[in-house]
Amino acid sequence: MKIEQISIFLENKPGRLNEICRTLADNKLNIVTLSLADTQQFGIVRLIIKDWVRAQQVLEANGYVVNVRQVVAATVPDRPGGMVEVLDIISSAGVNIEYMYAFTSRRGTAAVVIFRFDDPDKAVAALTTAGHDVLHPVELFKDSE
């Protein structure tokens, strides 16, 4: 099951991230997970938001350049070797990971990791066949209501 992630280009200037968060807060949009990738020059902030369609509209109306991508939220067993297991499944399916980051909330004894794959469908199939949980958006956003 895939989830929409929105990412926003960020100039490397103080206060730019605050502006984005404030814009979303003013519009009552709750950020479920935020991950920031940056270089010396610029950053890209990636957000998981339940109502991503409205978030995109609001941000674009405020002059941001917004990109939407499908990512996969997979559970990773919270024990030594848990992550390796998941990565092995993915690499043996021949799927590349463009990047990944941890989701803020957990599922029982498992951590949730957001993956950006080059081929999300193939990755989801590989993970579910191997008996790994891939989270449905309804489930993912359950705690953020």
Partner: protein, 442 residues
């Protein structure tokens, strides 16, 4: 003589005002010499600054016996207009002056020029011929988005009403409203700066308006240098034909020269403005075809005649008869004002080169700013480029690749390594008029 009565498609009648565009060279030169002699005498008798300079060089109006003798006359420069502000260069009493225009300099006082009734007729004449050269005729509707007021752009193109064109004096600003007018009023021609037209296109795209669906056919773009790449981008994005117009307040305003449908250089209306190209260092007159600084002499302007005015524009004169049949010489695309030239680590760099480089990069935005600084006695050039929605990516490496392609293109064209910084859309200062391209902090 070219087909005098018909346009080059063989069917469309030529505008009668365009007749001088097609006269044989000897006839044109005869007319130019006669007008030059009258003009020089007028300036000599009425403008003390000009007379003083002639006396220093021991030259009088009687010494102008051929067009080549113009080289004996002194140059005039922009600071002359400031030094004699406001009316020192006027050759007509204010009784005969019916209009004043001004150009706001970057520093200090504006420069002020005057027009008699006859001068305004000349302006109407050259604007009519400019528009006729690209196929505009009675029945066309012109959206004039040049600024009105003392700036010559607005009232300059407004002269189109003389040929029966319906002129909408929109002026600058309020882009949203401009888009509404363009959609609703059956507009077929637009005039503005090329950067403002790109801004209009960007804004129109946001509200889902495709210019290909409009009756708009022609764009008349000037008041700032622009590139061939920018023309291609404008034409592809809007489906219109984009034409370059040239002019400067000191001479008359827009309408000194204009492209024709051949889009290969701007025809100078030589019966009113006499062009020369000189070596910018030595002032020596160069033969046609060689690149140098454009010098213009007004041949018919009564209120503020300009003799050998140094435009600071770098170009060359093409005297080949054009594909359109016009015998008027053409100034080939004004690549850069010598004023705009930046010298970075000893290398000449023009903003138009940066623009051309950015437009080589797929979908690169033409909204950019050049920032020049000096660190430890070394010049550094930074280009801030606004990203566009199609650049959006969730991956750092793709944005880095975009940045790299831009800096490689800049280095290829200018031989200077520049730091490219990507910035958010609409974060660079832009006025509705001229784009501010250069910030020299040295």
């Amino acid at each position: 003589m070219a087909n005098f009565e018909f346009w080059n498609d063989g069917n469309t009648p030529l505008h009668p005002a365009s007749a001088p565009d097609f006269v044989p060279r000897p006839q044109m030169e005869q007319m130019q010499l006669h007008r030059l002699q009258v003009m020089v005498r007028r300036a000599y008798e009425n403008v003390p600054l000009f007379r003083g300079r002639c006396e220093e060089r021991k030259v009088t109006p009687d010494d102008v016996k051929s067009l080549a003798d113009i080289a004996r006359l002194p140059f005039s420069v922009k600071s002359d207009l400031r030094d004699t502000y406001p009316y020192g260069l006027f050759a007509s009493p204010l009784d005969d002056v019916v209009r004043i225009h001004a150009s706001s300099g970057t520093t200090g006082k504006p420069i002020v020029v005057g027009y008699t009734k006859g001068d305004l007729e000349v302006w109407e004449n050259v604007i009519t011929r400019s528009l006729a050269a690209i196929g505009v005729r009675r029945g066309d509707v012109l959206h004039n988005a040049y600024g009105y007021g003392m700036f010559t752009g607005g009232l300059g193109l407004h002269n189109a009403q003389a040929m029966g064109v319906t002129v909408i004096p929109v002026g600058g600003g309020n882009t949203e409203r401009q888009i509404m007018l363009l959609r609703d009023l059956g507009i077929t021609v637009i005039s503005c700066t090329p950067s403002y037209f790109l801004h209009i296109l960007d804004e129109a795209a946001k509200v889902g308006l495709d210019f290909h669906s409009l009756p708009l056919k022609y764009g008349i773009f000037g008041a700032e240098p622009w590139t061939e790449e920018m023309r291609q981008r404008i034409e592809e994005a809007s489906g219109i034909k984009a034409y370059d117009i040239y002019g400067l307040t000191e001479i008359i305003g827009p309408g000194v020269a204009m492209e024709c449908t051949a889009q290969s250089g701007m025809h100078i209306f030589e019966d009113h403005f006499y062009p020369e190209v000189v070596d910018p260092e030595t002032g020596e007159v160069l033969p046609d075809g060689e690149t140098g600084e454009l010098i213009l002499t007004t041949l018919s302007k009564a209120a503020t005649p300009m003799i050998r005015y140094r435009t600071r524009d770098i170009t060359w004169l093409n005297r080949e008869v054009c594909a359109c049949g016009r015998t008027l010489r053409r100034i080939m695309r004004v690549s850069a004002r010598s004023d705009d030239m930046l010298i970075i680590r000893g290398v000449n760099v023009f903003p138009s080169q940066i623009e051309a480089a950015l437009m080589q990069v797929d979908a690169a935005a033409p909204h950019y700013q050049i920032i020049v600084t000096r660190e430890n006695d070394l010049d550094r050039m930074e280009i801030e480029v606004e990203i566009r929605p199609e650049h959006a990516s969730d991956e750092i490496k793709q944005m880095e690749a975009l940045r790299l392609r831009m800096s490689q293109a800049i280095e290829r064209i200018t031989n200077i390594r520049a730091k490219v910084t990507l910035v958010q859309p609409n974060s660079l200062a832009r006025s509705e008029g001229k784009a501010k391209r250069v910030k020299d902090l040295r």
